[in-house]
Symmetry: C2
Subunit: 275 residues, 2 copies
């Protein structure tokens, strides 16, 4: 692991790091914010998964999470959204290939050689962060859009990995959306029976979720029909999974929306990770 | 209008009153809580509609609303849930007839002679309260179960009548529930086209709602399959109507649930009625 940069931020440190990933078979970059409380011992850690086209950098610079993390005493990890590099498969579309890993392990050429984001996040980067930063065993996970999909599905697929869960305008029912069907066909193949394990609205009914969930959604989100949050709320209700789903008038899909509600999410996780 | 009782409560007055209703063609009883702030001038008023089997009394004695109303400076009206008396039609079932008016105007015998709860609430009792109590032009509406259905549908049907809206575990999609189909058949007749105007999940798509909505639901509610809150959340999401829908683990359908979240609702209304 090598350090790309470290900057003092709200009394803590915002760092950017790179390492050779076994899972993704290429160099991967990620960012970690360590709050000032980490000087006194391990702190809980919140994973923030970003959306389509993003790197580790977008949320790090635009979501305003550091001030809330410093207030709550929580570390934040900002992974990249896909493998990257000249030798890594790509597509001209913004929503496939680099910047669009969809947090799955690909089984299909040409993607499978590098696109192993599920293993990368749930195992490799998790171990790397735990070994190299002063974080406790209490992990939470959140994300925006494609990253909200990643947060929801990883939390359900890896019981015990994450003790708290939230999402900003998640892709909530990808097996029934053009944000999902196209990518699952490419990464996972045409057999739709392999897709269900990567759709939060479907997966919840099989796997459940041991805690509660906070979901924020912009009422003027230009992608609402692709996100399908109501399908997820229906699954949450019918499985009687505690949740708070808020649709906020006037907010769109951007980081202006995410940053507005970022503090609520950090505090939601902090409350649950310190119990 | 005659006074049945008046009791000092949290610095204000909890009163119970009766009057001869034109709309329901019988004597009707209702309760009003006036907060101490009413001594200084008109206060906003929150209508609380109760559920199946209730009179004006259940929420008045069990929901704990008075302390919150006194804190917020809001009056609360507790209407009855149906016409009552020896000459009023009834049914042996708890969910039809007296105590189960469903907040509609009946067009069918033997109900239509007395069961005119929509007109009673939206016109007659509204005028009576406005004329006899120190309340402002700012009205909000909420309710529990059948009363949540009443609050949602009356708010949508009478634009301008109510400036704020919430519900506790509402009957949210009665045209597709045994809590609705049975009663609408009796009160409105077999022609289902007359039912849509009394189903919040359907009505919202036609009429909309000018504000936002708070909905609380118990996760252990024994009637969840009859209430169908997810249908309403789907309509709210697809019409991009701002809302906060919370499913709370472990809470059932009782007043223990209502009273737990009563303060949140009173403050939700107070914030919007004082603007």
């Amino acid at each position: 692991m090598k350090t790309i940069s470290e900057n003092r931020s709200f009394g803590g440190v915002q760092g950017v790091y790179a390492h050779d990933s076994q899972a993704c078979n290429c160099e991967m970059t990620f960012a970690v914010y360590m709050p000032p409380q980490a000087n006194d011992g391990p702190v809980p850690v919140l994973w923030y998964l970003s959306g389509l086209t993003c790197t580790h950098e977008n949320a790090m610079t635009k979501a305003g999470l550091q001030s809330h993390a410093a207030e709550a005493g929580v570390a934040i990890v900002f992974p990249d959204t896909s493998p990257r590099g000249e030798g890594v498969a790509n597509d001209d579309a913004f929503d496939l290939g680099q910047g669009a890993g969809f947090y799955v392990n690909s089984s299909e050429a040409p993607w499978k050689e590098h696109f192993q984001m599920e293993t990368y996040l749930a195992s490799e980067l998790r171990d790397l962060v735990t070994e190299n930063f002063s974080v406790s065993v209490h992990h939470g996970i959140t994300g925006h859009s494609m990253g909200g999909h990643g947060a929801l599905t990883l939390a359900m697929k890896y019981p015990g990995h994450y003790q708290s869960l939230s999402a900003f305008s998640p892709i909530a029912n990808p097996t029934r959306s053009d944000w999902g069907r196209k990518q699952f066909t490419a990464y996972l193949g045409a057999d739709e029976s392999n897709w269900a394990a990567h759709d939060a609205s479907v997966l919840l009914r099989e796997k459940g979720w041991s805690g509660d969930v906070l979901i924020d959604q912009g009422g003027d989100d230009q992608f609402l029909e692709l996100l399908k949050p109501a399908a997820l709320v229906t699954s949450l209700t019918e499985t009687r999974t505690a949740h708070d789903y808020r649709l906020h008038a006037g907010y769109d899909h951007s980081y202006y929306f995410v940053s507005t509600f970022a503090r609520d999410h950090v505090m939601w996780h902090a409350d649950r990770l310190k119990g």
